[in-house]
């Protein structure tokens, strides 16, 4: 027991990301509860007399925007009339704390069925988290969940721990953000952090690619299953034959529709899209067999070159493409297009290699070798077909001694942050770092910054 330094105090680990909220016991190798972070809600009526859901205990001046909230596996994915969808996490940061309590509560009490007042809780945060955010999180945990002890740890550090490294360059590709975090001796080098909403660009590109008509096919309709009453099989590239649930169309909100369509795009991305391992090569693309994909409407077609064009955005942006994405549907005269291109290039999310380069450049020269030799690839987005191999080949081209650690186990890749938290919170030597309820009451919010460095 002492041999591996573990001492389990049945702590809970909560890792909140853009796509899902993970919760589980420290010491486990996978989270017990994985629920989507997005939630469905019926908007609060402008009239204040309406009783609010008793989940919510926000300050009176800052009322939540929802009347009813739908959380969990049968939360946003179930169609409800007039249900809006929202995500409290924007660009990795929690922007709206109102639904956080119900989300965590759902994971702990409904899924895991634990009493939060009996367990110390470790929560994760992205490196670019703000002080106010982490203090708010501590407040929620202590005041609303009555946890005996609390700690907030950095996902970059936790991902490095999950890979068994104290010093690493963590390349985390999530659903909305791609970040590169240098970690040294279990501490993040904040100056070296670089991140960009690159996955969003990929997503936008994919969506644009699917919905816009091309020479050989019409724009694809991304109706989700929930809106389709019936369909019949059709030939490849034939017009889909389906019936919509007309009774639902009217009650469908834009946000839900958008959310559901994005899920279809994600599904397509995860199934079909990929990256060419050795780098972009027209001949190689032509050699790769096209892949068939069927949408919920029944429409099915083969995707060849397109599926690699999407993934290529992780590593290389072509300026024309960007203009096409950002300004599609808008007719622009050539001059304006040119100006916009310049402007958009400045705002373009950095690709992975640029992020890694930036991160390494800001680090001390002595650290670069060490970090380049300990690159940890993690995050659900890194499971994009071929990304790991492509990154490895790009790294060896730029840094001859670079080495990538990319776990083969998808759980380790997707929930690396949670797993690192699970490791950390089950260590015997860690238990002196918890912020106890007593300390919270004595020192207040200042203790968070003081303890969680």
């Amino acid at each position: 027991m002492v041999n591996y330094g573990g001492d389990e105090v049945s702590a809970l680990v909560i890792d909140i990301g853009t796509s899902s909220l993970r919760a589980g016991y420290a010491g486990d190798d996978a989270p017990k509860a994985i629920i989507p972070t997005a939630y469905g809600y019926h908007p609060a009526l402008p009239d204040n007399d309406v009783t609010m859901s008793d989940h919510v205990e926000g300050s009176p001046s800052d009322k939540p925007k929802y009347r009813n909230i739908y959380i969990g596996q049968s939360g946003p994915s179930v169609w409800r009339e007039g249900m809006e969808i929202a995500n409290p996490v924007v660009e990795g940061l929690i922007q709206d704390f109102h639904p956080i309590k119900p989300l965590i509560d759902h994971a702990l009490t409904k899924v895991m069925r634990v009493n939060s007042s009996e367990h110390p809780v470790l929560v994760t945060e992205p490196t670019w988290n703000t002080t106010a955010n982490r203090e708010r999180m501590a407040e929620i945990m202590f005041e609303e969940f009555n946890v005996p002890a609390f700690y907030i740890a950095n996902t970059g550090v936790l991902n490095a721990f999950a890979a068994g490294k104290g010093t690493a360059l963590v390349v985390d590709i999530g659903q909305s953000m791609a970040s590169v975090t240098p970690v040294v001796d279990g501490f993040v080098l904040r100056k070296g952090l670089s991140y960009s909403p690159l996955p969003k660009l990929i997503h936008a590109h994919a969506r644009h690619l699917l919905v816009s008509p091309t020479s050989h096919r019409r724009g694809i309709e991304l109706f989700p299953h929930q809106l389709i009453a019936s369909k019949s099989p059709v030939d490849v590239n034939a017009l889909p034959n389906y019936q919509l649930r007309q009774n639902r169309i009217a009650g469908t909100t834009n946000s839900w529709r958008n959310w559901a369509e994005n899920r279809e795009v994600d599904e397509w991305l995860q199934t079909v899209a990929g990256v060419l391992e050795p780098g972009w090569n027209d001949q190689l693309v032509a050699q790769r067999p096209p892949r068939q994909y069927e949408f919920p409407t029944g429409y099915n077609t083969y995707f060849g070159r397109e599926r690699y064009e999407v993934g290529e955005q992780y590593f290389y942006h072509s300026p024309q493409l960007i203009v096409r994405i950002y300004f599609s549907g808008i007719l622009l005269i050539c001059l304006i297009k040119h100006i916009c291109m310049e402007a958009s290039n400045a705002n373009l999310p950095k690709n992975i290699m640029a992020l890694i380069g930036d991160a390494l450049r800001t680090c001390d020269i002595e650290l670069r070798q060490v970090l380049a030799g300990n690159i940890v690839l993690t995050g659900g987005g890194s499971q994009f077909t071929g990304v790991a191999d492509r990154l490895a080949s790009e790294i060896t081209r730029t840094f001859p001694h670079g080495k990538i650690h990319a776990p083969g186990n998808p759980i380790e890749r997707r929930y690396g942050g949670w797993l690192g938290g699970s490791i950390l919170a089950s260590l015997g030597t860690f238990h002196q770092l918890w912020i106890s309820r007593e300390e919270w009451q004595e020192h207040g919010k200042a203790i968070v910054a003081q303890r969680c460095k």
Partner: protein, 516 residues
Amino acid sequence: MAASAADIRSALSLPEGSASAGPSQPKKAHTNTRKPDGISRELYSLIGPSAPSLAAQLAKPRLKQKPNFGGTVPRTKWEIRTFKNPARQDGLELKHWERSSDDPAAEYRFAKYNIQPTNYTYSQDEYTRFLDDNEWTKEETDYLFSVVQDFDSRWYIIYDRYAYPNGLTRSLEDLKDRYYSVCRKLVRNRPWAGDEAGRAQLLSSFQFDKDREITRKKYILSLENRTPDQIAEEEALYVEVKRLEHNERKFKKDRENLLRILAGIDSGLPDVVEDDGGPLGVLADGVGMSAGGAGSSRKKTTKKGTQAAADVETPSTPSVAGTPAIKRPNPVKNAAYDAQHCIVRVETPATGAATKAAHQPAYLRSYKLPTPKAAIAPKITQALAELGISLTRLVMPTRETTALLETLLENTTILIETKRQVDKVDYDIQVLKNRLASRDQSQPADGGEATKTEGRNGMEINGASTAAEAEGEDGRAQSVMSARSARSRKHPRRSVSVSSVDTTSTRAGPKRQKRG
């Protein structure tokens, strides 16, 4: 009935209690022996207990035995207990599972890993006295120390998190320099309880050379910024240097082997030094040179070799020449040392280059005992015998006795030589007398003048012939002898050998070598 059966048996002389008992008989076999496992009852009744080997093979198949974890030790009981971590200041109690046999009052076992590094603090007075610096205020120094303490001297992180409000931007080296210099000053100026060595060690642990660090980082940066072409070129040069070094080493080895074969195993070979200077040594001279590296290393080697050869040539020491790596004591020190230890040093011939030919290895003095020249050896022996001296080997060839023997032989040689010359001159006189007598008889008056010239001519012509040989030899031998004796006494035999007409250095060279 039973009795009658026994009677019949005894009458028929049948064995008692055989297996062929009739059905009416009680089954004795079954009561006496137990049926072994794995054999059916019917079969056992047929074959009886007489087939043990067969029965053993027919063991009844069994399920795999349950593993016995922990043997007979009773099961460990675990119970959930609250514990306090002494590393914490507050009273947080967490729960974990522990063996019920463990001592509940024992200290939390992970608390011992909570080690705090020593932190230096200073008072206002100390700051103003020792630590004042133009570039740093006390507040900023305080801040630096707090950050260092927060991050346990992890400098990369300290540099990353260092953000003194309205302060200058400090480099990592600035921060380190300030911190270590303050620590050094504090250690130096405070009273020290322990010994000086401990203090010096502590001081050395706070040593930090800012300029050197900056230079080092610059160097790393320049390494990093090499283009692939430069890296490839460097690789190629490195390989080239390696190859040259290898060649050099191989050449030296070959040469050494050759010399060993030619000059014998115990010829010291001090000038052949295996150059095992690593590639770094060569590379330090500059990466750009390729052939130059090997050249310079060779030059160094030969220079070292010369010095070593000069040091080693001390024939009076009967040991094999030491390795050139051993530094000899300097000559000034030698004079006293030598006198004390009766060491006599011999002047080494000041040859320009330490060639193999000029090298003189160590030898035993008895090998160098002077021996008379083979041609006149019997005469010398005879002369010495006449004088009553036995010319056998010296019992103890010390330096003095050897020198004496040398003089003796030299003198004897001279004596013999002189005697021979005297004989010759006597003989010449005799011949001339005879000729004079014969001439007086044949030509009493007239050819006196002519004969004289003829005789002179004849003598001159005969200078190269046998008759006149003695005369030419005579004059030269004399002069050479005188020159020789003035030059040195070390070459006694040469004085004899040089008696022939041709005494050039070219011949002297090989002779001397042969002797050596």
